[in-house]
């Protein structure tokens, strides 16, 4: 039973990762891509790890499960921070928001002098 649950969780997790990667390709600019990457990859990896936790605790590999649990905590803390740092860095570096963007209030306090097209860099 637990193996089936593990398998399902891991499959769903990998699927989320896949959608995240598709988003990485399809979205127009750095910020939207970061959104796709962060959300899907975080949840996908977490689901995979939860699968590992269940497998570990039910299958007698307690140490593995516990470490996976620690991994989840660590991932939830750090992944959004990394995304935030990347986005801020990109903005400060001068990467523009792409076409369908409707509003940019951040421009008021952190004006971009240089304009860099992220496709070319």
């Amino acid at each position: 039973m637990s193996e089936i649950i593990t398998a399902i969780l891991i499959t769903v997790g990998v699927l989320f990762n896949l959608f995240g990667c598709i988003g990485l390709v399809r979205f127009p600019d750095v910020y939207t891509r970061l959104q796709a990457a962060t959300k899907c990859v975080t949840l996908g990896t977490c689901l995979t790890l939860i699968g590992v936790v269940i497998y570990g605790f039910s299958g007698g590999h307690g140490a593995m499960g516990l470490k996976a649990l620690l991994c989840i905590g660590f991932l939830i803390i750090t992944a959004p921070t990394a995304a935030h740092a990347l986005a801020r860095g990109a903005y400060k570096y001068g990467v523009k928001l792409k076409e369908p963007t409707v509003v940019d209030l951040y421009q008021d306090i952190s004006p971009q002098q240089t304009s860099i097209d992220d496709e070319e860099t």
């Binding site: 660590f74 803390i77 750090t78 921070t81 935030h84 740092a85 801020r88």
Partner: protein, 157 residues
């Protein structure tokens, strides 16, 4: 304000100690499981590197001053060498003399004689060296004034 936003700083505060713990775990259990002096030492160094990234060099160098780091660097290597030389008492260089007099129980922490101690020495060396390399490369600032290029270091001491 040097360094990054409050978010990054807070998260760094939370995680640096955890990274340090994990590195220590890898070093101390290197003879039983995956890990060892080099891998653990690099992770130990990462806990300081992440502090450099978040807070900037100035803040971090207070936590681990450069002179202390340079000394620790030599001390780590010396400790390893002394461990090896002490093996002469067991008859051979590098011989595992602790193991001979106190074998310990299999799958326990103290079961491999000098190997964990050697791991600790290597970890110290690797951690401090990597920290120094990263710090020195990170704290150099290049500024161009006409034809002249100046190197300015952010170091405090």
């Amino acid at each position: 304000m040097t360094g990054m936003t409050v978010i990054v700083k807070t998260i760094t505060r939370w995680t640096a100690a955890l990274i340090f713990l994990y590195g220590a775990y890898l070093v101390l259990y290197g003879h039983l499981s995956v890990g060892g002096g080099f891998a653990g030492g690099i992770i130990l160094a990462c806990s300081y590197v992440i502090m450099i990234l978040a807070y900037g060099g100035k803040e971090t160098i207070h936590a681990l001053p450069k002179a202390v780091a340079a000394r620790l660097d030599s001390i780590g290597a010396l400790a390893f060498l002394i461990l090896a030389s002490l093996g002469m008492f067991g008859g051979f260089f590098f011989s595992n003399w602790i193991r001979d007099i106190w074998p310990g129980q299999q799958f326990r922490v103290f079961s491999a004689g000098i190997i964990p101690l050697a791991n600790i020495a290597i970890a110290l060396k690797v951690c401090v060296s990597l920290f120094l390399i990263f710090f020195i490369l990170a704290s150099l600032r290049m500024t161009r004034k006409g034809d002249k290029i100046e190197f300015r270091s952010e170091e405090v001491d």
